[in-house]
């Protein structure tokens, strides 16, 4: 045991918290080291001094002053809800954290529902043109299979000029159309 180790366990030695082996090592070192012996005796004496140091007492006016303050102070009213959940856990959390979490989850769900696209959206309704000119592509005419869904059929509004997308669709449809006419011609 060296001096640093002895200094680390001086309090444990004084308070009888060491194993017999450690006590023997401590004794052996302190008997041969004047410095550590001095430190040990100093700490021992300090503890005695502190424990026997004079104690102060409160002044004579203490109780009357306290009484006055208590009379003036308004007793803090206890929140009945927080008192109800005192000492209890909700979903493994303290009540306040549990409630905050629940509110946060509910808020997120509402936000997500609000962001989902719906058909009942009035802004979409207004953007649907009243008159639609269907542009049919491919070999089949609209009268051939009136009830069948044709993925090649592009419905492009001629009246809707606000949307960039719609304009792009228009251009794309026209060029596709021209290309297909060329193909038909070539085949013929």
């Amino acid at each position: 045991m060296n001096c640093y180790e002895v200094r680390d366990i001086i309090s444990s030695y004084i308070e009888n918290e060491l194993s017999i082996q450690s006590i023997n090592q401590f004794d052996e070192h302190v008997n041969n080291c004047k410095n550590c012996d001095g430190t040990y005796l100093g700490v021992l004496s300090l503890i005695t001094t502190l424990r026997s140091s004079p104690r102060i007492t409160v002044s004579n006016r203490f109780n009357s002053k306290l009484q006055e303050r208590i009379n003036n102070v308004s007793i803090k009213t206890i929140n009945p809800i927080s008192h109800l959940f005192r000492d209890k856990l909700v979903f493994g959390f303290e009540p306040k954290y549990a409630f905050v979490s629940i509110i946060a989850v509910v808020a997120i769900i509402f936000l997500m529902v609000g962001l989902l696209p719906t058909n009942e959206n009035p802004s979409l309704e207004t953007s649907i043109p009243t008159e639609i000119t269907p542009v049919f592509t491919g070999s089949s005419s609209p009268n051939d299979n009136p009830g069948m869904y044709n993925p090649d059929v592009n419905l492009v509004s001629e009246t809707d000029g606000d949307s960039v997308k719609t304009t792009e669709n228009k251009k794309g449809t026209v060029s596709d159309f021209e290309g297909r006419i060329k193909l038909v011609k070539d085949r013929r």
Partner: protein, 196 residues
């Protein structure tokens, strides 16, 4: 009338929570001097210490329902006093008020002072002042730990609960605080020996 030795602190606070104000008075009588010694050693000013003890006991009165019977009452009340004392020190630091030593004033009340001679009394006060100065020079976390252990004589477990730090940390802080105090007070003892 409450029999002083009949009830434990925990029983008294329970009775007070049920509305028995006599139990509160008994708790005040039990703790006022213990608390003032703790706070006085901690902040080094008697008047401020008394104010803090008053605040602590008012808080006990107004927040009685906040005590839960999972810890010792002494742990709870010391924690309140310790937090208020810390706040006071923080306020002082902010105000940058240099508190000169107000010790040795006329209104000091020592318990054992009546039967010692003037010389002994002067020597005792001198040593006392040196001890207080040495305690004040300790870092806060060492100071609290050593006061609670060596002046208030609380157990390591109680100190660990009050400071909310592990037992090992408490032991280490107390040991280091004692070593530092012993270094600070070495010259005082040497002076004392020379006199003898």
């Amino acid at each position: 009338m409450i029999d002083k030795h009949k009830y434990s602190d925990e029983e008294l606070i329970y009775r007070f929570q049920q509305g028995d104000e006599v139990a509160y008075i008994e708790l005040v009588n039990r703790y006022r001097n213990r608390l003032i010694n703790f706070v006085y050693r901690y902040i080094g000013d008697r008047n401020d210490a008394e104010d803090i003890v008053q605040d602590t006991l008012v808080k006990l009165y107004t927040h009685k329902h906040f005590y839960r019977n999972i810890a010792k009452f002494s742990t709870w009340i010391y924690t309140i006093a310790s937090n208020l004392a810390k706040t006071e020190l923080r306020k002082r630091k902010r105000r940058k008020v240099t508190v000169l030593s107000k010790m040795g004033g006329e209104d000091r009340e020592f318990d054992p002072a009546s039967e010692i001679t003037a010389d002994e009394f002067a020597e005792g006060r001198h040593t006392e002042r040196e001890i207080q100065n040495a305690i004040q020079s300790l870092p806060l976390h060492f100071r609290t730990a050593v006061i609670l252990r060596d002046i208030q004589e609380l157990s390591y477990e109680e100190i660990s609960n009050i400071l909310d730090v592990p037992l090992g940390t408490v032991k280490s802080r107390i040991n280091r605080a004692r070593l530092q105090l012993q270094e600070e007070l070495k010259h005082v003892k040497q002076k004392g020996r020379k006199r003898i």
